[in-house]
């Protein structure tokens, strides 16, 4: 990594005593071109997800059979799919559905994982060892297989797919949160808060949680990428969204069946998914590197 750009220059010395640590972190983050580039790309994507379906030129859910497999042009900018629906309009709606679905899955994973990880790491003891055994066992399943098992038991639907993906990734969140909590628990500021007689809940929420946020942000970004892949995989297999609703994976799975006639849309949707996942990974990695430099010498 480029050391010259990230290290605080002479102007940064001496640091103001009560400067918020997040400011230095943000400054480091924005000096990295890859963080800025991936953040910009993701912002555009979110914009597309919010605005896109409203400005879609055609109905994404129904089309004219006469325009099936129509090549790009003549009103259909990206061509028509197997049922003569406008691929561009479907892609716009799919962007919203896939991003929202991944976001919900990550939210579920964090809603379960953060409290469990905090409690397990902070209190330790029997609770911790039982939870960790459970966690290890849950993590010995291949993620996609466990998600398929859960979807299989609950029944295939987009909601159930999101619940499944959230449940599959919750143990990863638990592991990260618990690890960071274990480290934070030994810090002087936690010890002194305890000595001053703070209640456990206050120590956890006011002293530990804010200090483990940065690894959580990194984890959230990388997990968004994973969740998008997982949703795409499940929908590709037909275990996610129900037709006629589009999602990236559903569009890919559908156009895959007509690969011989229309290779263009397969490549298009595949590229959109890949670039999005790449952006989330690059963003997460960049944030991680900026956070890493925060460690005082």
């Amino acid at each position: 990594m480029s050391q010259a750009t990230g290290l605080p220059g002479p102007t940064a010395m001496p640091p103001p005593r009560r400067a918020s640590p997040s400011r230095g972190f943000l400054r480091r983050a924005v000096t990295q071109p890859r963080v800025v580039a991936s953040a910009a790309a993701l912002l555009v994507l979110v914009l597309v997800a919010v605005v896109g379906p409203h400005v879609a030129p055609h109905d994404p859910l129904s089309g004219e059979l006469s325009r099936a497999f129509q090549p790009p042009g003549d009103g259909y900018l990206l061509g028509g799919d197997d049922l003569g629906r406008d691929i561009l309009s479907r892609l716009l709606l799919a962007t919203r559905i896939s991003l929202l679905a991944a976001f919900q899955a990550v939210l579920i994973a964090f809603a379960v994982g953060v409290p469990v990880g905090l409690l397990s790491g902070y209190f330790g003891g029997l609770l911790d060892s039982v939870l960790m055994k459970f966690n290890d066992a849950a993590m010995s399943f291949p993620a996609l297989i466990l998600a398929i098992v859960i979807v299989g038991i609950l029944g295939p639907s987009l909601t159930n797919a999101m619940v499944a993906i959230g449940a599959v990734y919750a143990p990863r969140v638990v592991r990260v949160v618990r690890g960071s909590t274990l480290a934070a628990r030994e810090e002087l500021y936690v010890k002194s808060a305890q000595a001053m007689g703070c209640a456990h809940s206050r120590v956890i929420l006011r002293h530990i949680l804010p200090n483990i946020l940065s690894p959580l942000i990194v984890q959230a970004s990388i997990m968004m990428g994973l969740a998008i892949l997982a949703e795409a995989s499940l929908s590709f297999l037909g275990l996610g969204v129900k037709p006629p609703t589009p999602s990236w994976g559903q569009m890919l799975g559908r156009s895959f069946q007509y690969l011989y006639r229309d290779p263009f849309s397969v490549v298009l949707v595949g590229a959109v998914i890949s670039v999005t996942v790449l952006c989330f990974n690059v963003f997460g990695d960049g944030i991680r590197d900026s956070v890493g430099r925060e460690v005082p010498k």
Binding site: I153, L154, F236, V266, I273
Partner: protein
């Protein structure tokens, strides 16, 4: 070494019990009455009751779990609701496809990663190194299904040189087996190759700077010997770790790859199970894949003792 091995093997028991417990608890989430599902939609009340008793669903939960686990230990994974055949039989029949696929993918990954990482680490930050890093970033981010679809497009449709569908057992014709295996295995192996190269390059880079590497060079050993013997052996432990972690990704990825290339392996078995709401099949494949991961992790653990004698003493 024996004591070390035994200790690790015994350590598997609680993890495996937890794995089965997770599956059992998940099964309790089934919407509706499993006995009614098993008996069929238009079964009479007596039939449902009969199924309930036969499936042991009238027993207390703990007892149900106990007898279920006891069955698993005997290799009894239940009977497919859809076909009425034992799930263990179905899994055994389909396992060879998945095993060939994952093994070939792993071997391909190693064949790419070892030379690539050695070439990259030999002269850090030079052109070979930089292009390797670039390629691995792509290999890691590209989803399995995209790589697979692109390969089908190029090699099966555009140039029509390799088959895109089907599987031929190795015992039937090794040549046709390998021809059918190329595209799926490359699809599955690409991510493994990228991940392995990345980690191997990193650990080789540390080693290339070590004193004993200089000593080896000064002694007059050739590049191949220096990199192959001195560096590779010492880089083995982290690489084996990463290789072990790949098994989870491989087993997950095989579901997608089997779908793309129409292979009848465990991945397509579980997907068919979901569509048919065939719970014993779903659980069976789930447990077998978790078991595989746990056993592979054990093998990785044991290999540390083999690769690095200090681990044995520490254990």
């Amino acid at each position: 070494m024996l004591k070390f091995t035994l200790k690790r093997v015994v350590g598997l028991v609680p993890i495996m019990l937890m794995v089965t417990l997770i599956m059992f608890l998940l099964l309790q989430l089934t919407p509706g009455d499993p006995a009614r599902v098993a008996a069929g939609a238009d079964a009479s009340e007596e039939m449902v009751q009969l199924f309930r008793e036969r499936m042991g669903l009238d027993q207390p939960l703990l007892q149900q779990y106990g007898s279920w686990v006891a069955g698993l230990v005997r290799g009894d994974f239940g009977t497919s609701l859809q076909y009425g055949t034992p799930v263990s039989e179905m899994i055994l029949r389909r396992a060879p496809v998945t095993i060939s696929l994952t093994l070939t993918a792993t071997i391909l990954g190693l064949l790419v990663a070892v030379p690539a990482a050695m070439a990259a680490a030999y002269k850090p930050d030079r052109i070979v190194d930089r292009s390797t890093v670039f390629a691995t970033t792509f290999g890691i981010s590209l989803p399995d299904f995209f790589i697979g679809l692109l390969l089908v497009l190029v090699f099966a449709i555009e140039f029509d040189v390799l088959p895109a569908l089907g599987y031929v057992p190795f015992t039937e014709s090794p040549l046709r087996w390998s021809i059918h295996m190329i595209l799926p295995a490359v699809t599955l192996g690409a991510a493994v190759a990228a991940e392995l190269t990345r980690h191997m390059r990193a650990s080789l880079r540390d080693i290339v700077g070590m004193e004993y590497m200089n000593t080896a060079r000064v002694k007059g050993l050739g590049t191949v010997r220096v990199m192959g013997k001195h560096a590779l052996r010492n880089a083995a432990v982290p690489v084996v770790t990463v290789l072990g972690l790949q098994i989870r990704r491989l087993l997950g990825g095989t579901v997608i790859v089997e779908r793309i290339f129409s292979l009848d392996g465990l991945g397509s078995l579980i997907v068919q199970g979901v569509f048919a709401r065939d719970f014993p099949v779903i659980l069976g494949v789930g447990i077998v894949s978790a078991l595989t991961v746990v056993v592979v992790n054990l093998a990785v653990d044991l290999s540390y003792g083999f690769l690095d004698p200090r681990v044995r003493v520490g254990a």
